[in-house]
Symmetry: C2
Subunit: 324 residues, 2 copies
């Protein structure tokens, strides 16, 4: 299963839209083996000219908001419009063993059988940087394989949203009606990152609550500082099970794309994302090299403890580490 | 003027509450000369046991919100209660030449003549990390000099708020009534960092608009995710010129301190801030060493440009840099 193909086989397979090869290439990109990485980078460079042309949409929300149901419904809607879409999920709780893979496929059973959709869970890495690193490259592979919409799902509780926000063109925050317990666990600051809010499960008995929440959030967003892109994040409602509100969401994403393409923010956002990716990778590697020195991790832990307890100041602590 | 004292003279002067010595010690801490830094670190280590016991309050808001007037009024109010307070301002537009020093002293003329208040502008450094680095240490020096409240002022437009949020116990966001042009330029995400919002200039014709804004922001904050500390950020109003609302603000800060002291979040926040300071300093120094290599900055700029234009992927770009 882990037999590696030559780089050009991956490249050809991906560009031909072969999903099996695509999946194997993603596994290669996710591998930490240096020999795998060498081939992975060769493949990525070869497909690079064929990337960048999808609409990248980040979708987040706390557990229970109905992300899987939403993505299943929205994905089918997009597929029925004739789009080819890839769904990448980042699950910080999953292990690299691949357990989440089965889980996700099961979660989105109907969509996973749709010939226009490709679902790929990214197991959480050791670091957020690791997750981001692989997911960014997975997006590129999917684009090269001809997917024109890439949905990146993340759980709205940790730092992963900020990372995902840094790799998509449009960031959709799913919310539940009622601002009570549902907000528990949501990371503060996320609401202000969103390009649109959508109240999910706006059906049945929940419909009027969803409409009330919509008005409340609209009023609240109105009080936020502007995005600086000329875009005012709207508050929408939807019912994935009833297939309601999905058209509006898709229209919203397209309007956002049109506006920000025209005023240059689309390109600027992508360029800044590229720069951030580059800079954080450089930083990560520099830190990695430093931390990897024999005994260094213990020294850092020791210093950190002393700094946290107020016994030592950061500057001499860092001086000591750098002098080692 | 730049004549350096021996370390113990600074230490003794600071612990005796001598403002002149305190000012000179802060200048020393802000200096980039290695010999100054050596003495500065010696002083900081010596005073360390006498630090940490003030209430550190960050105050932010866009230009025009009336920060200086507020701090002048609030500072006088606190001084009249018998507190000794230090006011540190961070001005990203100021130069190291010291021009802002005069400017700030003039801005807070009455407070600057109050024997219980000490005003010190921190000129903006080359980097945000630089600003943070010095301001954190300046807070410690002020605490050692016996100031029991430290107000850190910042302009609510850039990244400096996040940095200042990372060095205070309580983060106060000053706002203007009306959610129109006033919000232009305010950094998104700041509202969700605030421990309290306060609508300024709630006097005269502006009073009813301020009260309306208070209700609107209250409703909006209610929809935010909880802070995770058991604290619900209140929305207040004040008039610094009429000395109205200042009591409530001070009570709010004290209530926050009491609650978070009791539930452990006060201590945890400080510990996390220490750790973040340590980690970002380590990262900064590692990057600094790397960037300082001959010709490296040009290489990095070149790579960054290629990455931003989509010609090159970050991973091989970083590989190339690290192999140099």
């Amino acid at each position: 299963m882990r037999q590696r193909l030559p780089a050009h086989s991956y490249t050809q397979g991906i560009l031909a839209g072969d999903r099996l090869v695509l999946s194997r290439a993603i596994t290669l990109v996710e591998s930490r083996r240096p020999d795998d990485q060498a081939v992975a980078q060769e493949v990525l460079e070869a497909v690079l000219p064929h990337t960048g042309r999808s609409i990248r949409v980040g979708i987040t929300g706390v557990p229970g908001v109905g992300k899987s149901t939403f993505i299943e419904g929205f994905g089918q809607y997009l597929a029925n419009l004739g789009h080819r879409l890839a769904v990448l999920t980042i699950d910080p709780t999953s292990q690299r063993s691949g357990g989440s893979l089965l889980g996700d496929k099961t979660r989105m059973e109907t969509l996973s059988m749709n010939a226009s959709a490709y679902i790929r869970p990214s197991p959480a890495g050791d670091s957020l940087g690791g997750v981001a690193h692989r997911t960014r490259e997975t997006i590129l592979l999917c684009e090269a394989a001809g997917f024109t919409i890439v949905l990146v799902e993340t759980v709205g509780v940790g730092q992963s949203e900020t990372v995902v926000h840094g790799m998509v063109d449009f960031f959709l925050l799913l919310m539940l009606a009622g601002a009570g317990d549902e907000l528990q666990g949501m990371k503060r600051g996320i609401m202000e990152l969103a390009d649109a809010l959508c109240i999910t499960k706006a059906d049945g008995d929940n419909r009027s609550a969803a409409n009330r929440a919509q008005v409340e959030y609209r009023n609240a967003l109105h009080l936020f500082p502007p995005t600086g892109t000329g875009w005012a994040p709207p508050v929408l409602t939807c019912s994935a099970v009833n297939q309601e509100g999905l058209t509006t969401i898709w229209q919203t994403i397209q309007e956002h794309q049109q506006l920000t393409t025209e005023n240059g923010h689309w390109r600027r956002r992508r360029q800044e994302q590229q720069r951030t990716w580059f800079r954080s990778l450089l930083r990560q590697r520099l830190e990695g090299q430093f931390y990897a020195q024999p005994g260094m991790q213990q020294q850092i832990d020791l210093m950190e403890e002393e700094v946290m307890s107020g016994k030592r100041l950061p500057t001499p602590a860092v001086d000591t580490l750098l002098a080692m």
